[in-house]
């Protein structure tokens, strides 16, 4: 075992908080923020960030090992993941030194929690059709419009948004990346009740919200280029390990063992099919990480989202199969909020959402066809 893995295992065992409340609102987010501070103080909050910005400059394999150990230790959801994965790396690549100094430390310590403001009611897959408008007024921009499906907006302090600053030329030339304080007058956040029983998505409305022009990242009209680079940061494999799926499968193994259905041929076949995928995902992500660390030019990261999102659906479908075979679904139908069955079903429905968010799987296939396979358009 590597020294890095040993170090992490020991530290996480001693520090991972237990029994946090479900992450729903500002109040319940508090202990998650405290945990981020603990991670930051230990130097583990943003391994992939450069050292000069408080990261570790870690390679992809190091990050995968961290994720494996984090899952093994049962670490809680990362409340500021949008800042650490998207907004932070974007600032590091495109922000001014002043902007970096202003926001990066707060991202690392979750002093400010961030959410992502890209999608709009009429701009989903066609992101460049976004209409939330920002008009210059002195040294400020005045923002009007609406964002939607914004994860975590209820407990976030800031939103990094794409806004329209021009109607001239092609659609994607008039877009600007703007950092907006959600406590500004004129911002309203409305939770959206979801299919899976949660309401952590939200609509965010902007009515004459005044934002300093100094909050533009990468320059007026450069937002599309900045956003595409940001989504590229997200497409790597460093933050998603097979371990999170393996621990889920282990829960099902225990359910099956307790119910005495481990010898059922249908259960074995479906369980094995998912286990094969989970272990293949281990090998796939390791391969991508090794290639990345070796500086190999490769197209393999382009497949990652398609692969993990389809794997998740199959995993949570298996959950329903095992729970049904164990006679446990009756609990859910009789109402069992917060129980194991309700949790699995909520996750099942959330896995269906994962085919849609972060670029629908159809958009992913089109990107692969264009950029990797270079098919004619």
């Amino acid at each position: 075992m590597t020294a890095w893995r040993l170090e992490l295992r020991e530290w996480l065992t001693g520090h991972v908080p237990r029994d946090l409340p479900p992450l729903k609102d500002r109040l319940s987010a508090q202990p998650y923020r405290v945990w981020e501070r603990v991670l930051a103080d230990a130097g583990y909050a943003a391994l992939h960030w450069p050292v000069e910005h408080g990261g570790r400059g870690a390679g992809s394999v190091e990050r995968l090992v961290f994720q494996e150990e984090y899952e093994r230790a049962g670490g809680p959801p990362r409340v500021n993941i949008q800042a650490l994965m998207l907004a932070g790396p974007t600032l590091i690549a495109f922000g001014t030194p002043e902007q970096q100094g202003r926001w990066l430390p707060g991202m690392l310590r979750a002093d400010q929690v961030w959410c992502q403001g890209f999608s709009e009611p009429d701009a989903g897959s066609d992101l460049a059709a976004l209409r939330t408008r920002a008009v210059a007024s002195g040294d400020q921009l005045v923002v009007n419009g609406q964002k939607i499906w914004t994860t975590g907006a209820r407990y976030s302090d800031w939103i990094f948004a794409l806004v329209r600053t021009s109607d001239e030329g092609p659609q994607h030339h008039g877009i600007t990346w703007l950092m907006i304080d959600l406590r500004s007058p004129g911002v309203e956040v409305r939770p959206i009740a979801q299919l899976n029983g949660d309401d952590d998505f939200a609509e965010v409305f902007f009515t004459d919200v005044r934002v300093p022009a100094a909050n533009v990242v990468g320059g007026i009209g450069s937002g599309w280029r900045v956003a595409m680079a940001a989504l590229g940061f997200e497409r790597g494999v460093g933050r998603r390990s097979f371990a999170q799926y393996l621990t889920r499968l282990e829960q099902l193994r225990r359910v099956a063992a307790e119910a005495g259905i481990g010898a059922d041929a249908d259960v074995q076949r479906e369980f094995g099919a998912v286990l094969a995928k989970v272990l293949s995902y281990r090998d796939f992500t390791t391969r991508v990480a090794l290639e990345d660390d070796a500086g190999t030019t490769t197209s393999t990261p382009a497949y990652n989202k398609l692969i993990w999102s389809e794997l998740q659906v199959q995993l949570f479908q298996l959950g329903e199969t095992v729970l049904a075979a164990a006679g446990r679904l009756r609990e859910a139908d009789a109402g069992d909020p917060g129980g194991e069955v309700a949790d699995w079903m909520a996750e099942y429905w959330y896995s269906r959402a994962a085919r849609i968010f972060a670029g629908t799987n159809q958009i992913q296939k089109s990107i692969i066809a264009d950029r990797v396979l270079q098919l004619p358009r």
Partner: protein, 332 residues
């Protein structure tokens, strides 16, 4: 696990690919003889055999890309199972007499080897004079030199005394039976991944050049998305075969599991590629005028050779459901 290949491994696979592409086609006696001689000239049959036994001493990690290339090129003779299955098993477990009989023939290109897969027997690859088969809980070495026409069932060969136990009579047979199955699954997975890659490349070429409605069919979203699915499934399937190669090279305890994962995932990707490749080619792909049929047929054969996806998934399910903890079993 998984692997990144070094420059030597990549270069050697490239040389093998070039050699495979230049082999004579056809299954006639003279073509098979010429092919075997050409492969022996390159030293391919004994690549995975230790140097002190006359081989090149390569590990499975050196071989796995070469196996992919054999699938990609649709090599007609049984070189893949010779290199990845028969020669290494002979080297590891054969008696001195068995090795002395067969290594010179393999090295000189007068013989090749194949496995007798429980599902599909010796399979469609030609030119094998030696076979390894599981029979009655033992691995038997079958001498096919005197056999004309299609190889008969193993039981007939046993009766005709053309069979001897690999490693001799006193050998504990069980580990050999398991190694035969794992190696067979691994070789099939690696070759199938090469076939999947060829099916994708052929389909991409066709999608770029075939026009309907006045434009290349590769502009249609239905076609583009099928090809993207194949590309994704292929790259997902390759890494597990590399992991299985590493396990075999290190004689690791997880070898059987890794072979199950590799074959299950390769078979799923291969089946998807088979479906989509024919669909993208349309009618021309269903005719023997077009070379696509070679990879469709061989790929379909390999999907079930040494076990179908379902067989391997069920085996994994049994292990997974009955271990003490998946986390301690599979997390480093």
């Amino acid at each position: 696990m998984s692997h990144v290949f070094n420059a030597d491994q990549i270069e050697f696979a490239g040389l093998a690919a070039k050699a495979f592409a230049g082999l004579p086609g056809g299954d006639g006696g003279s073509e098979v003889a010429a092919t075997r001689a050409a492969l022996a000239e390159l030293g391919l049959p004994l690549l995975g055999v230790p140097e002190d036994a006359g081989g090149a001493g390569m590990t499975e990690l050196d071989l796995v890309l070469i196996l992919e290339e054999a699938g990609y090129a649709d090599v007609r003779v049984a070189i893949a199972e010779t290199v990845g299955l028969v020669a290494p098993l002979l080297a590891r477990h054969g008696t001195p007499e068995q090795r002395n009989t067969w290594f010179p023939a393999l090295a000189q290109g007068t013989a090749l080897g194949t496995g007798y897969c429980p599902v599909r027997g010796p399979g469609s690859r030609t030119g094998a004079d030696i076979a390894l088969a599981e029979h009655d809980g033992r691995v038997l070495l079958l001498d096919l030199r005197e056999v004309t026409g299609a190889p008969p069932p193993v039981a007939d060969l046993v009766r005709s005394s053309l069979a001897s136990p690999l490693g001799g009579e006193d050998r504990d047979p069980e580990p050999l039976v398991r190694e035969l199955a794992s190696r067979g699954a691994w070789v099939a997975a690696a070759v199938l991944n090469g076939i999947t890659r060829r099916l994708l490349d052929l389909s991409l070429d066709h999608a770029r050049t075939r026009e309907q409605f006045g434009v290349p069919i590769g502009t249609f979203q239905a076609v583009r998305h099928m090809l993207a699915e194949v590309a994704s499934a292929l790259e997902f399937a390759r890494a597990p075969a590399w992991t299985a190669a590493r396990c075999l090279a290190e004689d690791a305890p997880g070898t059987e599991l890794a072979a199950h994962v590799a074959k299950a995932t390769a078979a799923r990707a291969g089946a998807l590629a088979n479906d989509h490749a024919l669909q993208v080619h349309g009618g021309i792909g269903f005719t023997k005028e077009h070379e696509l049929h070679r990879w469709l047929l061989h790929g379909h054969e390999l999907e079930s050779r040494w076990g179908t996806a379902t067989t391997h998934e069920s085996a994994l399910g049994r292990v997974g459901l009955h271990c003490d903890s998946l986390v301690t079993e599979f997390l480093p």
